[in-house]
C-alpha cells in the first residue's frame, strides 16, 4: 500500500506522492509551504487552527479546505496561493488575533513566532473587534521549566498532543468552554515529564516559554550553531544559541535518524558548565607542592617528560566525552608511551524508551572503537587502587567522586591532567594541568550509541589560553615524536584513514549536518547519497533553523 503512488496537481505542477500523504506534506515535499499552527510532522493531526486553508478541486468545483487533514487523491488539483485560499487564511488570522494580547515587545517568542510571521504576511492592519479582549492568566508556572501565558495561546493543542503521544504522560488538556478555553495541567499539578521543554519549542506562539531562557535575550541576537548534545550517548542534534560568548539556550535540531524533533530537558540545560567560575585558562605545573601557572611550552615539556619516564607504567584514563579525533590522538600518545593500562570512566544517565540511553558518555562508542580499554593483563579503572602504578594520565577526566582512587593518584610520582575546569583531582594530585575546552568550544565528532558519527561545532571562544583538546593532545603527540602537530580537528579525522580503513575518506565536512552511520566493515564513502553535504557551517547566525526544526 505504501508504495502506491497518487498523482495530483499542486499550483500547476504535477507531483506524485505515496497514497496516504496529506496535502500539506505534499506541498512541503515540493519545497513550498502552507501556513500551519497545529500541524506538526511528529504529532497526530488535530486540524483545529484552520490556517492551512488551500483551495482544492476534486472534480466538483473549487472549495477551501484545510490541507493538513486532507489525503492526496488522484487527479486532485490544489491551489495554495489562490485568492480564496489567502482570504480564508486572513480571516482565520483575524479571528485568532481577536483575543491575542499583542504584547510582542515583551514576548520571548517574538522573532520566531508563527503568529507574527503570518500576521506580517497576510494579517490585517487592525482589528474590527470593538469589545474588550478576553483576559486569561499570564505567566503561570506549569513546572520549574515551563511558564504558560494563556492569553497568547491559540489553543492549537500541540503541547497537549506532545505530552500524550511522545512524552507518554497525558498531563496537559484544555479546560473551560468557548472563549474561556485554556490549557491547564491535569489535576492541577505540575508538568513532570522529562521532555516538557519540547512543548516550548513546538508552541507556535509565545504561550509556553522556557523559565531558563525567559527574558535572557531576543532570539534574533543569538548566534545559532548546529552541534550535538554531549549529555548521553544518544547524540541528539542541537542548535546552540549564544550571545556575549555565553550559551543562552540549546534546542533540538531535527534529525529523523537520531532524535527527530525532540530532546530531553536535562540535556538541553546541560550547558551551565561553560560559564563555570573554575574554568581553566592557563596551563599549570606543580612546584613545591603547589600548582602554579606556567607557559604552554613549559607545561607541555613537563608533561612529555613525565609520560616518557612513566613508559608502560602509566595508567591512562581517557574520557569518553572527548571527540573521536581527540580519542584517536590520545590512543596515539598511549601507543607511543607504550602502556596497556587504559580505560574510560563509565557515566550513568537516566534511561527511557524515547531518547535517553542510560549512558552518560556521549562518545562511548568512539572510545571503544579507538580501543580505550585495558589491554591483556593490564589494569583498568576498577583495579587502579591496587595496581601500584606510579604515573597517571587523566585525559579530560577526573576521579573526584572516587576517594580510593584519588588516594592512589595522590601517591603517584606523576599525574598529568587535562580538562576544562579545575577539579578536586587536579588540586590534590596533578603534576601538570593542561587546560582543554568544553564541547561548545571545539570542532570534532561524536559517535553515538547507534554508531553514527556526528559533528560538533564550536559556538563559544575558550577562556584564556585554553586550547581545544585535539590541539593540545596533538602537540603532546608531536613532542613524543609522533610527527607534526595537527592544525585542525578535520586534519586529524582525515588522517585516521591510514590506520582505520572504515574511516577512509571521511572529513568533518563530509559528515554533514545530520552525521553518518558507520556500518561495521563498510567504507562510509560508498554511500553515495550521503556524501554530499552542506559545507562546514550549516547553521549560521540569523538563519532561523531552530523554528523550522523544532516547531515545523
Amino acid at each position: 500500500m505504501a508504495d502506491e503512488l497518487v498523482k495530483l496537481t499542486i499550483d500547476g505542477r504535477e507531483v506524485e506522492v505515496p497514497r496516504g500523504t496529506k496535502v500539506i506534506e505534499a506541498v512541503r515535499d515540493m519545497g513550498s509551504d502552507v501556513p500551519h499552527y497545529c500541524w506538526h510532522p511528529g504529532l497526530t493531526v488535530a486540524g483545529n487552527c484552520r490556517i492551512c486553508m488551500v483551495e482544492v478541486d476534486m472534480g466538483r468545483g473549487r472549495q477551501t479546505v484545510i490541507s493538513c487533514n486532507l489525503d492526496c487523491s488522484p487527479g486532485m488539483q490544489v491551489f495554495t496561493q489562490s485568492d480564496p485560499a489567502k482570504q480564508a487564511r486572513q480571516d482565520v488570522m483575524e479571528l485568532l488575533l481577536i483575543n491575542h494580547p499583542l504584547d510582542c515587545p515583551i514576548c520571548d517568542q517574538a522573532g520566531e513566532c508563527k503568529l507574527q510571521e503570518y500576521s506580517f504576511e497576510f494579517g490585517a492592519d487592525g482589528s474590527r473587534f470593538e469589545f474588550p479582549k478576553v483576559h486569561k492568566p499570564k505567566h503561570v508556572d506549569f513546572s520549574e521549566h515551563v511558564k504558560f501565558d494563556a492569553e497568547r495561546c491559540i489553543l492549537c493543542t500541540r503541547c497537549v498532543r506532545f505530552c500524550d503521544e511522545i512524552a507518554g504522560e497525558d498531563e496537559l488538556s484544555i479546560v473551560n468552554r468557548g472563549d474561556r478555553n485554556e490549557i491547564a495541567v491535569a489535576r492541577g499539578g505540575e508538568m513532570t515529564n522529562a521532555y516538557q521543554l519540547n512543548t516550548v519549542d513546538i508552541c507556535p506562539v509565545g504561550a509556553l516559554t522556557s523559565t531558563d531562557f525567559r527574558f535572557k535575550s531576543r532570539v534574533w541576537f543569538l548566534k545559532q550553531t548546529r552541534s550535538v548534545c554531549g549529555s548521553c550517548s544518544r547524540g541528539c542534534n542541537t542548535t546552540v544559541g549564544t550571545r556575549w560568548n555565553k550559551v543562552l539556550r540549546m534546542v533540538p535540531a531535527e534529525n529523523d535518524d537520531v532524535n527527530q524533533w525532540w530532546m530531553c530537558d536535562a540535556g538541553r540545560l546541560a550547558f551551565k558548565h561553560t560559564a563555570a567560575d573554575e574554568r581553566l585558562g592557563a596551563p599549570m605545573v606543580r612546584k613545591d607542592g603547589k600548582l602554579v601557572e606556567a607557559s604552554w611550552d613549559e607545561a607541555l615539556s613537563a608533561a612529555v617528560e613525565g609520560l616518557e619516564a612513566a613508559g608502560d607504567g602509566l595508567f591512562a584514563l581517557v574520557s569518553a566525552r572527548l571527540t573521536n579525533e581527540e580519542l584517536f590522538l590520545a590512543r596515539g600518545i598511549l601507543d607511543k608511551v607504550g602502556t596497556q593500562h587504559v580505560d574510560f570512566k563509565p557515566r550513568t544517565w537516566p534511561k527511557d524508551d524515547l531518547l535517553r540511553t542510560g549512558d552518560g558518555n556521549p562518545n562511548a562508542a568512539g572510545a571503544r572503537f579507538f580501543g580505550i580499554a585495558p589491554g591483556d593483563g593490564a589494569h583498568g579503572l576498577e583495579a587502579l587502587a591496587e595496581s601500584g602504578l606510579k604515573a597517571a594520565f587523566l585525559c579530560g577526566e577526573d576521579l573526584d567522586e572516587r576517594p580510593d582512587d584519588l588516594a592512589a593518584l595522590e601517591a603517584m610520582d606523576f599525574v598529568l591532567c587535562t580538562g576544562f575546569h579545575e577539579t578536586e583531582t587536579m588540586r590534590r594530585c596533578a603534576s601538570v594541568v593542561l587546560p582543554g575546552v568544553t564541547e561548545f568550544e571545539k570542532d570534532g565528532s561524536f559517535t553515538n550509541i547507534d554508531g553514527r558519527m556526528q559533528r560538533i561545532q564550536p559556538s563559544l571562544s575558550a577562556p584564556g589560553s585554553a586550547r581545544p583538546d585535539w590541539k593540545l593532545l596533538g602537540q603532546l603527540l608531536a613532542r613524543l615524536g609522533g610527527g607534526e602537530a595537527p592544525r585542525s580537528a578535520d586534519q586529524v579525522l582525515k588522517s585516521m584513514g591510514a590506520t582505520h580503513p572504515e574511516l577512509e575518506g571521511l572529513s568533518l565536512g563530509r559528515l554533514g549536518p545530520l552525521g553518518k552511520s558507520l556500518p561495521q566493515g563498510e567504507s562510509p564513502v560508498t554511500e553515495g547519497e550521503n556524501t554530499v553535504t552542506a559545507g562546514e557551517n550549516t547553521v549560521t547566525e540569523g538563519e532561523n533553523t531552530v523554528t523550522e526544526g523544532a516547531s515545523a
Binding site: 510582542c104 515587545p105 515583551i106 483576559h135 499570564k138 527574558f215 535575550s217 531576543r218 534574533w220 541576537f221
Partner: protein, 189 residues
C-alpha cells in the same frame, strides 16, 4: 568643431598691477570692521546664547516614564536591533505587574550614537525619544556610556510620556480590563 576657443579679455595695466584691487579689498574688509552698511556680528556667543532648536532636532536619545512614573520601556530590544552603530545595549529583567519585563541594563554609548533617530522611530512603547540635549562631554570613554538612570534623568527634560499628548496607554487598558474580568488580584503587584 570639437572645441571652442575662448579668448580671455586683455587685462588693463591697473589690473595687472594688482594694487588697485588690493586697495579695494582692504577697503571692503575695513568697512566690515567699522560696521558700515548692514554688516552685523554674525556669530553667536555660545554658552550664553544658544541656538533656537527646531522641532525636528535630534539630540541625545533619552528614556521617558509615563505619568505614573512607570518605566515605559519593556526591553523589547528593537532599538538595540535597529541601531546602525550598535550604540545601545540592553539586558532585560523580569518584573512583577501587568508588564512582565523591563530593562535591567540600558546603556547608550554616546561615542557610538549617530543620532539617527531610528530608536525613537522603532520603539513600540514610545519609551525612547530624541531629546534636544546636545552638550555631551566626558573625561573618559566609560563616562560617555550613558546608563539607564542618566537616560531617565535626561528624559525628564521632555516631560512625562516624552511630551506626547494622548500617549497610548495600552498597559493601563490591559490592567483595567483584567480587573474587570476578575484577573487583577494575581497580576498587580
Amino acid at each position: 568643431m570639437s572645441y571652442v576657443k575662448v579668448s580671455r579679455r586683455e587685462l588693463t595695466l591697473a589690473e595687472k598691477l594688482y594694487l588697485p584691487s588690493i586697495l579695494a579689498g582692504l577697503k571692503n574688509t575695513m568697512s566690515h570692521l567699522l560696521r558700515r552698511g548692514d554688516n552685523e556680528i554674525t556669530t553667536m556667543q555660545y554658552p550664553e546664547e544658544k541656538w533656537d532648536l527646531p522641532s525636528y532636532y535630534r539630540g541625545v536619545p533619552v528614556l521617558v516614564k509615563d505619568e505614573d512614573e512607570r518605566e515605559k520601556c519593556v526591553a523589547c530590544s528593537l532599538c538595540e536591533f535597529v541601531c546602525p552603530p550598535r550604540a545601545i545595549s540592553i539586558i532585560p529583567k523580569q518584573i512583577e505587574g501587568v508588564v512582565e519585563k523591563a530593562p535591567e541594563v540600558f546603556d547608550i554609548d554616546m561615542l557610538r550614537c549617530i543620532f539617527c533617530g531610528y530608536c525613537e522611530e522603532v520603539c513600540p512603547e514610545q519609551a525612547i525619544f530624541m531629546s534636544k540635549e546636545y552638550e555631551i562631554c566626558g573625561q573618559t570613554r566609560e563616562e560617555l556610556v550613558y546608563p539607564m538612570d542618566k537616560l531617565y534623568e535626561l528624559g525628564k527634560t521632555l516631560g512625562t510620556d516624552g511630551g506626547v499628548k494622548d500617549a497610548p496607554k495600552k498597559w493601563e487598558t490591559l490592567a483595567r480590563e483584567q480587573g474587570q474580568q476578575g484577573l487583577a488580584s494575581d497580576q498587580d503587584a
